[in-house]
């Protein structure tokens, strides 16, 4: 094994959202298909929700990347909170119209209504962190989608309790709502190993036995972000040992002790 293998493996688990790092998981790809199909359906807005770290932003980035080649699609990672600014950005992206002054809802609505769709394809606007938009703003977004001239896909962060409210609320005819969940142990295994394989860290990928995966799952509950943090620290510890006391580590499987040490360091275990 190369000495830098642990460093390379560690950096695989940096917490970043980039469509090119997307890992296809079976359950997620089913949801992905549902989402892709729902974009083609008229009327509906699409709501993507779930606990922090379940991959909403990642999902949206991937969806954006894959449909942007086929049709007009824009991803707003940052909520545009100024209303006029929001419409102006939409006008620019959707119709390439630039406004210098203020643009209000009614004015913009007029523009949208009078537009003919190009080849009957509805352009898609994706809004991440949509809980930051105000209620009124969300209502206006809904009215905009009612014109059927633009479609919104919305990712919403909700806490567990609010999740239920969100679900009940958005399960009306207007919304197609999709919930993202934490990974099952089997999915977590695929997630970790595929991530490592993608970065050519085949040796470390094979170190994750079912036993170590189960322990990791127990600690992180299958949350992708928590898993990233845990494994990042795990390889950081491995890297340290490899440099300082290489005889302390086994190279054929991930040690439970080091998993637990990483969990202590990241706060998943209170010790």
């Amino acid at each position: 094994m190369k000495p830098s293998i642990y460093e390379d493996s560690r950096d695989v688990f940096l917490d970043t959202v980039d469509a090119k790092d997307y890992i296809q998981l079976e359950r997620i790809s089913t949801i992905y298909q549902v989402l892709k199909d729902s974009i083609k359906k008229p009327f509906k807005m699409v709501l993507l929700y779930g606990k922090p770290g379940t991959g909403k932003s990642m999902f949206l980035s991937k969806l954006h990347e894959s449909i942007a080649s086929e049709q007009k699609a824009y991803l707003y990672k940052t909520p545009i909170l100024d209303e006029s600014e929001f419409y102006k950005t939409l006008a620019q992206d959707l119709y390439e119209i630039r406004y210098d002054g203020e643009l209000n809802f009614t004015q913009f609505m007029r523009v949208v209504e009078n537009r003919e769709l190009v080849e009957a394809i509805v352009p898609v606007i994706m809004l991440d962190e949509a809980q930051l938009y105000s209620t009124i703003m969300m209502e206006k977004i809904r009215l905009l989608s009612d014109t059927r001239k633009v479609k919104f896909v919305i990712a919403l962060h909700k806490t567990e309790k609010e999740d239920i409210i969100a679900k009940e609320h958005f399960q009306t005819r207007i919304w197609e709502s999709i919930k993202l969940e934490n990974a099952l142990p089997s999915e977590l295994k695929i997630y970790i190993q595929k991530k490592l394989m993608k970065a050519n860290c085949i040796d470390t990928a094979s170190m994750f036995t079912p036993k170590s995966i189960n322990l990791i799952h127990k600690l992180t509950d299958g949350n992708y972000r928590d898993t990233n943090k845990l494994i990042y620290t795990l390889f950081d510890i491995y890297h340290y040992y490899a440099q300082n006391t290489p005889n302390k580590i086994k190279r054929n499987e991930i040690s439970a002790k080091i998993i637990e040490m990483a969990a202590i360091h990241t706060g998943l275990i209170n010790a």
Binding site: I97, F105, M109, R110, N114, T135, I136, L143, N270
Partner: protein
Amino acid sequence: MLNIHELENKHKKYKLKSFAPYLVILLSITIVLISILFFLLYDLGSNTELNKSEQIAQKEESQREENSTSNLTQEKNETLQKEISIPEIVKEVPKTEEVTEAIQKKVLLSPSLNFIKSIESQAPIYKEKVHKTAAIVEQQIKKPIQKKEEILLPAVEEVKESMAIVEKTGSIDIKRRDEEVDIKHVIKRFNINHNPALSLFVAKKYYQLEDYEQAYNYALATNELNNDMEASWIIFSKSLVKLGKKEMAVETLKKYINYSSSSQAKQLLDEILSGKFK
């Protein structure tokens, strides 16, 4: 960053702690076993000396005794467990606080102006982009002029009408209380996921609240995470002016305009230089 030695110690403690309940159970089982053994032996010894009727009476008595003593040992065990578990809990509480405190400390942002240097070193990377974006901007500027004529401004009455619709449906449909999104809540989330969208949101909120120092801090954090966000540079420069660092704001904007050719930034720069924005 990683203190392996400390981590190893913590892990040892953690392991001991997780074994403690088993130790307690093991200990109590041995105590019970020993006491049962003791009474059995006692029974056997008395057998030879006492006649039968006495034996029966004794047996009953010892059985009663046994019951009560085993109750006693159970009680003992319970208090034993309590004694062991209480200090554990007490110990744990301040620790978790310590951990969260440490986490918060880590992400507390200290104002630093190193970024300006970092822009300088990054500038060449953007050169190519500047040409491209400049071309795009040119295109975009040309188009709207032709199209602007098409846009009809609706009458005031119509505006009122549709606003009424919005308000009606708004109150029925969505009852989210995010009108006054808790800024602290957003900060907490930013500290976890380091999403520049969130820090920009916080910067904007603080700017609205006229807390320019915090606005500056969060805009800076945003720029460090993603230095391609126009809105963040705008808030950053505006906060600088508000903090009395006009020159720095001008400097920053100039550098930003150099690689982004942002019209918003240019506009702000003009306003600052002319004294319109202060």
